[in-house]
Amino acid sequence: MKEIINLPVKNVEEEEYHINMGPQHPSTHGVLRLVVSLQGEIVKSLKPHCGYIHRGIEKMCEKDTYPQIIHLTDRMDYLSAHINNHAVCMLVEKALEVEVPERVTYIRTIIDELNRIASHQLWWCSFGMDMGGLTCFFYGLRDREKILDIFEESFGSRLLHSYYTPGGLMMDIHPDFQKNVKAFIKYFRKKIKDYDDLLTGNIIMQLRTKGVGILTKEDAISYGVTGPSGRASGFACDVRKHHPYGVYDKTEFKEILGTKGDTFERYMMRMHEMLESMKIIEQLIDNIPAGDYKAKMKAVIKLPAGEYFQRVEAARGELGVYVVSDGNKSPYRMKFRSPNFSNLSVLDHISRGCKIADLVAIGGSLDYVIPDIDR
């Protein structure tokens, strides 16, 4: 009799249950492994294991010349390839004290913002897919295709462009560039309403995201969560506003700050940012000054010995590039402060106590790109 009573008392409640989300899992957007300990469906803690696609980009940079580094930065956060290029180019220009033509800064700013929109479109569609709405995925990709077509026409490639070089651009923009960008903005302003109807206003999506995965402002600052995810918590961290580069100081745009810092705010930040980016592009696209697309640079670029740092606002947060030069044509040490790495580190903190489905939604709202984490 005693045995029968004892059987169900075995403490199921406190038994921990580990599952491996990834490296192959539909919601990790790449080869990221999250070891999640669960109690029932509730996440007790999780441990990210990165490094599955570590390629040693920082080390590879040490043997490459500065123009050659550009194509490696494409492959970190491949969804904001132009912005990564921009960081390295500006660092070299700053170190050599080269004045780039105004035309170049205008074009770079426009293309950065286009790239940001394209990146957020891909985020939107994959976020929709994480939430289980597969249709979002196709609408997002459909509209992203329009930007990629503009990119392909001007720079010949769709994802990894290597378009910026230290001192300017690889080639001038295509003659149709301005026309196509304006047509895209007209098109996308219409389509973004579909986004709102389909996902933003949807009651299921709002119930699943509001009040889930709350990140306070203090935590955002101490974990270094930047970009839309940080701004959702009220952390004013927009590099474009506070340390302007390009022609951001000449344009009007808002740095939108959230208050709650939950998944829905993070979602709304990116939706607003797409609109703001379109505003920036609209202000600049007709005013691209004439001129050369490239400053005069030496054939072999050698940075004077010393330390250099440059930061930009990539689509997912603040990207910092740090270079120690010993005066040679390749850097002595190169370090990237990638936004996704810091954003991922907060995942354990904000997803404790929520459900597996919430974990997927939080992961989607942090919008991590795995190659940028591993580098």
């Binding site: 059987l7 169900p8 075995k10 199921v12 409640e13």
Partner: protein, 170 residues
């Protein structure tokens, strides 16, 4: 042999075989699954007797309700590798004795009872309207009182379950 007899043979064979398997299987979820087959075959037996309502209730309550609950609780508590221990002789002998006594009593009762032979015509069925009416009737053969008593019992059970579930949280 008529088709009905054939079906009866099949159903009874299923019931006997799976009943034995249910009590001899050492994996608890397998036992639950075999129990499901026994209950479904019993439902089939009722269909054979044209007690459609009873058969459907058998399927809904036993097969669809109770077995699902049993399986659900097994899922929550046990692990796939678990096997029950082989019972010792001390347990087997009393079990056999108890089962044997039960069988003797049941079989002897059935054999002693004189079943009146009555051929029910094929179209005749238990009318579900009659069942429904007698369930809520307060007259002589009505079941209104038991029906209400059971509903109060179920309500009490439900309240108890909610309280138990709430308690754990704080």
């Amino acid at each position: 042999m008529t088709p009905n007899q054939l079906m009866f043979a099949i159903f009874s064979a299923v019931i006997i075989i799976f009943s034995i398997l249910t009590v001899t299987s050492r994996r608890i979820l397998r036992a639950a699954t075999f129990l499901l087959f026994v209950l479904v075959a019993t439902g089939g037996m009722y269909f054979l007797l044209r007690f459609n309502f009873l058969a459907a209730i058998q399927l809904t309550l036993y097969a669809g309700g109770i077995v699902v609950l049993i399986i659900f609780s097994i899922l929550l508590t046990s692990h796939i590798g678990e096997k029950l221990e082989k019972p010792g002789l001390k347990k087997i002998i009393p079990a056999f004795v108890a089962a044997g006594v039960g069988a003797v009593v049941t079989i002897s009762t059935i054999l002693q009872h004189n079943f009146p032979v009555e051929v029910i015509s094929g179209s005749e069925r238990t009318d579900i309207r009659l069942i429904a009416k007698s369930l809520i009737s307060v007259e002589k053969f009505g079941y209104a009182l038991p029906f209400e008593v059971i509903s109060i019992l179920l309500l009490a059970a439900m309240v108890g379950a909610i309280i138990l579930a709430k308690k754990r949280k704080d």
